[in-house]
Amino acid sequence: MKVSVLFFGATADEAGTREIEIDFADNAKAEEVFGEIVNKFPRLGNHKLLFAVNQEYAGGDETISDGDELAVFTAVSGG
């Protein structure tokens, strides 16, 4: 399956990109997928990261499906 992964702010800087597409085995768990993304961009490990699946905060147990929109970002700092 193919998923898109979005980066914002600090994570976009660390990944050197704002969006990638990655292939994964079907029905992977969110925590595996996000783990792989962090392995791919090791500088992300410098940050406390938050994850989202389809624009909702993800805990890690979620099952990822083909076409899902994932996002990796640091703790929010709006306001």
């Binding site: 914002f8 905060y57 700092s77 709006g78 306001g79």
Partner: protein, 154 residues
């Protein structure tokens, strides 16, 4: 960046004058508060957050705000629904600005209209605290000689 706006959503948890919006345009604090005035209410409490010149002794040149826009709007919608569930309020308006903001420019406005001002104060304070915790927006501080993305505490 195009101006984004969702107004008067049909969701059952939303009151008809609620609105929330992210925008790259300058914010008019008074106009935002006025959008949520219902005839039955007597008080609006508004928080106007703006770009400070000094943070922890360092002089800021300007800020850049960036959002995960569709998720930010979803989280703002949830915030408004939670505020209605927790407080005796009539309407809520939330607008966050994105892009480059100069010193003194307003980055966020939260207005709450309520029959009793106590609830308006409580809900407004709760909303800014929760917005800073949950809505996926980030600010980059640009200062002389460098810049850094600010990371929240949660």
């Amino acid at each position: 960046m195009p101006e984004k706006e969702i107004q008067n959503p049909k969701s059952k948890t939303q009151n008809r004058l609620d609105f929330y919006k992210i925008t790259t345009e300058p914010l008019d604090v008074g106009a935002i508060a006025r959008k949520i005035v219902p005839a039955s209410c007597g008080a609006i409490v508004t928080l106007d957050g703006f770009v400070r010149q000094f943070t922890k002794g360092r002089e800021t040149e300007y800020l850049v705000y960036e959002a995960y826009e569709p998720m930010a709007l979803k989280e703002m919608e949830k915030l408004v629904a939670r505020a209605h569930a927790e407080f005796e309020i009539e309407n809520v308006g939330i607008v966050h600005r994105l892009g480059r903001l100069e010193i003194g420019e307003t980055s966020v406005v939260i207005s709450v209209a309520a029959p009793h001002r106590r609830a308006a104060f409580e809900a407004c304070e709760w909303l800014i605290k929760e917005l800073k915790r949950t809505v996926p927006i980030w600010k980059k501080e640009v200062y002389r000689g460098g810049e850094t993305w600010i990371e929240g505490a949660n």
